[in-house]
Symmetry: C2
Subunit: 491 residues, 2 copies
């Protein structure tokens, strides 16, 4: 075997072990007996130990050094790019620091949950201080001479920089703030009413997942507290949730996760268990979940179909016709919580968090001033004050587990979804007529062929550019939002 072949064989085993570790997470959230938590923590730590040892294995460095890159084709070079980046990342961070981050974030997650339950920011800040210090140290190790936050972004969105975020998010903010203000000045539309059998919600959910092309032979849909997608290749599972008075939560959580899962299921089978065999970045991943959920799932055309399906499943919804249904699934309401936000307001939540975490990492902002900064920015963008920490700075788990540089990928996903939607509608003129019949294949086939099947072949931004035929920008998303909500709210 050539050094490249040896490296790829080694990598394939690593990828298989990563799938095993990921499935432990699925198991924990869906079927694990509740008394198994302590043992599970040891099992996960042991798997992490195995994976870390493989990532820093000196043989990987030897193989990388021995490979003649010019002898490889495009695919081979792309594989190598991923492996080199992961290996460098793993070897730059001292083992002592990685272990310390694992230890402190594990504790911080528990402390955060307690603090949120008690609405007690002071309880959380000391351990957050430790997390931030450790993550700054890790970021500095990764950045070498470069920018620390830029280095952090590479874990989630390779190629992205703080400067690029400044430009993009700077252009989003004023138009989003203005749109939000205009929409919320209008009377609130009617929502769904009634109670909805949770068994029926799950059945409908599985049907709609398949309507969006999710392959149940290589996946499954279960209930969990938080919806998520898990796994790559031939075993990609999703979870959803049910709420008795809100059937939209289950349906749209499912469609969102189907977007993520379809990306994983539709990667070229030739890339199975290789670095190219999965979604290329968090931002591109989120573009798939968002376009499935919003630009397709919440479109006027698709809601025609979904209205009929839900009427068939539940009888009465308290909504008279498809138009009222469309308005209800796109209703914009005041609120504090990111995960409950609508398309208009969601990105404002992200812009706030991105700005604050960048200042935390660069030491412009200290942990003790975090709550004040959060509340001031919220008031500025949303127009009313945060009422309590669990609705403000304590609402998200991310920082407690050390995820700095992750938040912006949500909005990048929305921006990318805007671009993809524009290109899709250009290429598929009869899309709405088909969506109105519950046929999503024109859209999902387009996404599979132009984006999903390539997996990690291209860098994230190039992945979007290649699918759209143009560099990604914020314009299409803003135009889409202003047109859609302008029409719904008569602006």
């Amino acid at each position: 075997m050539t050094p490249f072949e040896q490296l790829m064989a080694y990598q394939r085993e690593t990828a298989a072990l990563e799938q095993v570790a990921g499935r432990l997470g699925w198991d924990q959230e869906t079927v694990m007996p509740r008394g198994a938590a302590d043992q599970r923590a040891e099992e996960m730590a042991a798997m992490e130990g195995v994976l870390h040892a493989r990532r820093v294995d000196p043989r990987v460095g030897d193989w990388l050094a021995a490979i003649e890159e010019t002898s490889l084709d495009d695919t081979g070079r792309a594989q190598l790019r991923h492996i080199r980046r992961d290996h460098e990342r793993a070897t730059r961070v001292p083992a002592r620091l990685s272990a310390e981050i694992a230890r402190v974030t594990s504790k911080a997650q528990r402390v955060w949950a307690e603090a949120r339950a008690k609405d007690d920011v002071a309880h959380f800040l000391p351990i957050l201080e430790q997390v931030v210090a450790l993550k700054r140290e890790e970021g500095a190790a990764l950045a070498a001479e470069g920018d620390v936050y830029d280095a952090m972004l590479q874990d989630y969105e390779p190629g992205m920089t703080g400067a690029a975020l400044d430009e993009l998010f700077g252009a989003l903010r004023p138009r989003l703030v203005a749109l939000r203000e205009a929409v919320l000045a209008k009377p609130e539309p009617q929502g769904v009413s009634g109670t909805f059998d949770e068994g029926v919600q799950m059945r409908l959910s599985r049907k709609i997942a398949q309507v969006f092309g999710y392959d149940m032979k290589r996946g499954r849909v279960d209930k969990a507290v938080h919806p998520f997608s898990s796994g790559s290749g031939l075993d990609v599972r999703i979870t959803t949730r049910t709420a008795p008075t809100d059937p939209f939560n289950c349906i749209y959580s499912t469609i969102h996760e189907v977007g993520h899962a379809s990306y994983e299921q539709n990667v070229d089978p030739a890339y199975l268990l290789t670095p190219l065999g999965q979604g290329v970045s968090m931002g591109v991943h989120e573009s798939q979940s968002r376009i499935y959920e919003n630009q397709l799932g919440r479109s006027r055309a698709f809601t025609d179909y979904l209205f009929r399906e839900m009427r068939d499943a539940y009888g009465e919804l308290g909504l008279v016709d498809p138009e009222a249904f469309y308005v209800a699934v796109n209703r914009v309401q005041k609120g504090y919580i990111r995960t409950e936000a609508d398309e208009v307001q969601y990105n404002l939540h992200i812009l706030l968090r991105t700005d604050i975490e960048r200042r935390l990492i660069s030491r412009e902002l200290e942990v003790n001033d975090l709550e004040e900064a959060w509340n001031a920015r919220f008031l500025a963008d949303f127009g009313y004050p945060v009422d309590r920490p669990s609705n403000g700075v304590l609402q998200d788990v991310h920082w407690s587990v050390g995820l700095f540089g992750y938040f912006p990928t949500y909005t990048l996903g929305n921006v990318y979804a805007g671009c993809l939607n524009e290109a899709l509608r250009r290429d598929v003129p009869d899309l709405d007529a088909r969506l109105a019949e519950g046929e999503t294949a024109p859209a999902t086939d387009w996404l599979r062929e132009n984006l999903q099947r390539h997996g990690g072949l291209r860098e994230p931004r190039d992945t979007i550019a290649a699918a759209c035929g143009a560099e990604p920008s914020e314009g299409p998303l803003l135009d889409y939002l202003e047109a859609k909500f302008g029409s719904i709210y008569g602006l």
Copy 2:
């Protein structure tokens, strides 16, 4: 850390990884999407690779050499005994041979399934020949100068020898053959009749599992094609099956697996994720599943309770009273299949297999003469000829996956269960009165205290001897069977 502490820390990680690998098996049989099989095979192979590398890691040998055994207490010495045995086993078998066995048995399992489906022995024999040759080679490596079959037995029942089996099984055979003949000369009693809702079967199954002390906080009951128990410590899951016209299959499969699972759940928590933290051998494990299923679950006393429960659950069973119910759950019928056999005939199936596999391994019997040997022995012990290979030599998966030395542990389990039942009834005089009320605690507490909690502390035979206060022998099982079936059949 001392060498012993280092070894134990390393071992704890290995044990956690073994739990992860085991849970992959559970997942595969219960919830895995059917299209995931190819990827799952790679995942399992990668986990096996990790575990094998850990078992032969030279550091284990270094630690073992550096430990002053005299400085350890009994528990420490028992831990060391297990670790040393596993390490020696792993290092004695060349990596090339292990890999070849894995490759060939994986293929042999598929070929066996095809051969069984087609009732075509000739299709299976060539690959079985390869499996036997490889297992002989492995056995010779393990045995060094000793007996090859004895060496194989150590994988499943440490301390057991072919000579001890000769004595035990030789004493069992004539009395079992005679009992079988006497029972089958009598008229066949009435069985259960009707169809039984499979959802109700699963609900009742979960209830009875808890009646036998299974802790659902650290376990769960699912449906699978084959009932099994999986995992140790804080996460011990069982599966069962349902058949619409045979509600006893589900109930007794469940009670059997609860016996296995209770052993794993009830080991002293101080042994969690150590070599002592699980059942000590296959034979002792089977003693727990058998005593739960048979000596307790099929006792006249417990069937009083179970009859009421099943009548409440299903209404009519086609059985007039608890006595008729007792006779039905203990009915002896002609048959070819080991897994469907009753208490009277089960061990004859095992004696047949043990005798044949010993002769195969010692080359007294060649693979080409296997079917003839099987059929002759079956006719001798059961009194009628095998009608087709899928009811004979092709019925069990074991040999195709290289399990030689495993079969005898089933009968050892029955023999041990006989001994434990005798001791239990001596120590708990009011046992039947309690069982008739559905109270199994007097029995399950006795088993937990006297046997289960010790896990791997003592060698298998010593585990039984310590619980019973006497060396194990075949007498109690034979006396129990002759008394029970003598009474049911009026012999």
